[in-house]
């Protein structure tokens, strides 16, 4: 924690963007992150960047699967026994439970164990169906013992907040900044973003990555305020005999959702909500557009 704080100013980069905008950039959660603000507020940039970056790093430290001192690691080490989790973690688990319930089990923070057999490296190496069958008993939120604040994770199961962590971090950073800063800003963590108000240049223009290219905006969305989140990764797939297997896995079968869009972008009032809607849309496969249309949200689907 201390070393991150010390290197804070080195970890933040200022970039001048078009249309009179300035970006404070940093890396977190394996994504390029930035806060955009009108260039005339340059003097605020480092302070604003620090608030946002510190929150992003805090959420990452706390919920990363890869850090031994994260809450997730502590939970994993305590498998089979009941532990008391802190308030923030409890609220996240409550949220995950709601999402599990309303998606009839399609959104499940225990489905991460499937990573052990699925490697979406664009090859044709599909896992053995028997290996998938072996993992299915380890999936299912209803198998957890969860009575806030007490959690018991059964042996061999895993928790993964990756499905909502980045969006949650955006909303948290947004909340911290919005209470102390009244000028226009936009927080963008790897394509999940939220803005408080339109910049003087009229709207925030957001490039959404095109399915088959990297960092080349194919589609520019305009946003005044609110949140956008994108789910899907066009580079993570397997291809066998002409069939594409996207990386969106159905936790009930352990197999990729057939006919899932390559990416879905949703606009909503919070990034968490937008992210969940886009994830649920991907899980609907061929019915993604119908689902989004019925939800009454603004959305963009790439197939």
């Amino acid at each position: 924690m201390t070393d991150i704080r010390h290197s804070l100013t080195e970890s933040l980069r200022l970039e001048v963007r078009s249309e009179g905008l300035l970006a404070v950039c940093f890396d977190a959660m394996a994504s390029p992150c930035e806060v955009l603000l009108p260039a005339q507020h340059r003097s605020d940039a480092i302070e604003i960047g620090s608030v946002v970056a510190n929150e992003a790093w805090r959420v990452e430290r706390k919920y990363s699967r890869y850090r031994k001192d994260s809450v997730v690691s502590v939970i994993h080490r305590s498998r089979g026994s009941r532990i008391v989790v802190d308030d923030e973690t409890a609220s996240l688990i409550d949220f995950a439970q709601h999402c599990f319930d309303i998606s009839n089990g399609m959104f499940d923070i225990t489905s991460g164990v499937l990573r052990a057999v699925w490697h979406f490296d664009q090859s044709d190496r599909l896992p053995e169906p028997s290996d998938i069958q072996r993992l299915l008993p380890l999936i299912g939120f209803q198998k957890l013992h969860w009575r806030r604040p007490v959690l018991m994770l059964p042996s061999d199961m895993e928790l993964d907040f990756g499905g909502c962590g980045k969006e949650y971090a955006v909303d948290r950073a947004y909340g911290l900044l919005a209470t102390r800063y009244a000028e226009p800003f936009l927080i963008n963590f790897g394509g999940d973003l939220r803005a408080n108000q339109a910049p003087p240049s009229d709207t925030w223009k957001i490039g959404i990555e095109r399915p088959d290219t990297i960092r080349e905006a194919s589609m520019v969305l305009e946003l005044e305020q609110g949140a956008l989140a994108t789910s899907g990764d066009s580079h993570r797939y397997l291809m066998r005999n002409g069939t594409r297997f996207g990386h969106i896995l159905n936790p009930l079968t352990g197999w990729p959702v057939p006919a899932a869009p390559r990416s879905v972008t949703v606009a909503a009032s919070s990034c968490t909500e937008a992210g969940l809607l886009s994830t649920l849309a991907l899980l609907k496969g061929a019915e993604a557009e119908q689902f989004l249309g019925d939800s009454g949200v603004r959305y963009w689907v790439n197939r």
Partner: protein
């Protein structure tokens, strides 16, 4: 919670629920943003331990005063069990009404011990009170709650309370069950209380003449009660709770230090007799509370109705408003409480010796009289920041003013004219608290 195949949620409804869930997540974790940075996610012994302590000073105008320290310690264990321990110490001193009426002449009473020389005299026109009233009470209670399933809790508890002349043990057990996505909690419980009375000088025979001092050692009473409750989350910021309870007490239900003036036909006091209450009391009560929270305001409105087979019926209405001050560290909480009760059917402020009593029971205890009362109070609390030795603890101060008025018809008895027979009661409570 269980997966129900075939139960399809419409997209629009799903979005509503998702919005609500997101809001709940983001608002629940909004506070103390950076505080969680400072502390590791799991701590040792102090984690999930809360301490609520207070010292209250209670003063009745011209009568009792009490100092009461209270400590409540609650801890949730990693396996989901929760322990709640409450310790109270009461030190009462001052003057307590003995039940006799004021009179135009001085009245002399023996102290309950009956020892020679232990007596007190009440001046003409004054309400007779025992000026040497003194009592220390120690009470300790503990409740243990354990989850038996994901949605069912069992609680068992015990309470002991002791004074010089009184000892009480209560055992209780209850079951709470959540359903409807934990939006509804239904609970049921039973309790059993055993009391033993060891009045100074012995327990007087009910209805016996004061001068005879017909006292017979120690007595007991016991009670059994049942409680049923429903708590319902109505909306995200509205919680409603409804409870019904019935209890039945049996045994020596008299106050051994209370007696009733006996008057002649003109109203002059000629003697006293100890009170005589029925040896059973069946009480039913209903309680309804609604708590509603807005941005910086939250309110709790509660209504209680109680009725017993002594014809005492009471109603209580209480409104509490908590106003969170800007900055989020302090709040002010004004309270107003209104109370009214009817008299017990055997309540009589005096006995006229020439009139035949139409009941074997009588008591002049003003707590069984008809009265109404108003309490006004305000509490101010300040919570310290997340750093420092007393981090995140709350200090609070509460002041309440209580005013009680009796409702009795006037009397024609000549000797009682010009006397304040039912003096109003006023009391002040000041409480200082610390909670962690």
């Amino acid at each position: 919670m269980q997966l129900k195949p075939g139960r399809e949620v419409s997209s629009a409804a799903l979005r509503q629920r998702l919005m609500a869930a997101s809001c709940a997540l983001l608002s629940a974790t909004g506070v103390r943003a950076q505080a969680s940075d400072a502390s590791p996610p799991f701590n040792g012994l102090l984690e999930n331990l809360s301490v609520d302590s207070a010292v209250a000073y209670y003063h009745e105008d011209g009568r009792i005063q009490a100092v009461e320290p209270i400590v409540n310690v609650a801890k949730t264990f990693a396996n989901g069990d929760a322990l709640d321990v409450n310790f109270t110490f009461d030190s009462l001193s001052g003057s307590s009404p003995n039940g006799a009426l004021p009179s135009h002449s001085a009245q002399t009473f023996a102290s309950p011990s009956g020892k020679v020389g232990h007596s007190y005299t009440t001046a003409p026109g004054q309400l007779p009170v025992d000026p040497n009233y003194e009592d220390d009470r120690v009470a300790l209670s503990a409740n243990w709650t354990t989850p038996v399933t994901r949605v069912t809790d069992v609680t068992v508890g015990a309470k002991v309370s002791g004074e010089d002349d009184f000892f009480s043990v209560t055992l209780s057990a209850s079951l709470a069950h959540d359903f409807n996505d934990k939006n509804t909690t239904v609970s049921g419980g039973l309790y059993n209380e055993f009391d033993s009375l060891k009045p100074i000088g012995g327990a007087p025979a009910p209805g016996s003449d004061y001068a005879l001092a017909d006292k017979t050692g120690n007595r007991t009473k016991d009670g059994v009660g049942i409680l049923l409750g429903v708590t319902q989350v109505m909306t995200r910021n509205w919680l409603s709770e409804f409870n019904l309870s019935v209890d039945r007490f049996h045994g020596y239900l008299n106050d051994p230090y209370k007696f009733t003036s006996i008057l002649d036909a003109s109203g002059a006091t000629t003697g006293y007799q100890y009170e005589s209450r029925p040896d059973q009391r069946l009480r039913k009560s209903a309680y309804w509370e609604n708590r509603v929270a807005w941005d910086s305001l939250s309110t709790a409105l509660s209504l209680r109705y109680m009725s017993d087979d002594w014809s005492v019926h009471s109603e209580t209405a209480q409104l509490r408003v908590r106003w969170n001050l800007p900055g989020g560290q302090s709040y002010i909480e004004p309270t107003i409480r209104w109370y009214r009760q009817t008299a017990a059917d055997f309540y009589m402020p005096w006995i006229v010796e020439t009139e035949k009593l139409n009941s074997p029971y009588e008591s002049s205890d003003s707590r069984l009289d008809a009265f109404h009362a108003l309490t006004y109070g305000v509490k101010y609390a300040h919570k310290l920041g997340p750093l420092g030795p007393l981090a995140s603890s709350e200090f609070n101060v509460r002041v309440e003013y209580y005013q009680q008025k009796y409702q009795n018809p006037s009397t024609n008895l000549a000797d009682l004219q010009g006397l304040d027979l039912y003096p109003e009661l006023k009391a002040v409570l000041v409480q200082f608290g610390w909670r962690y």
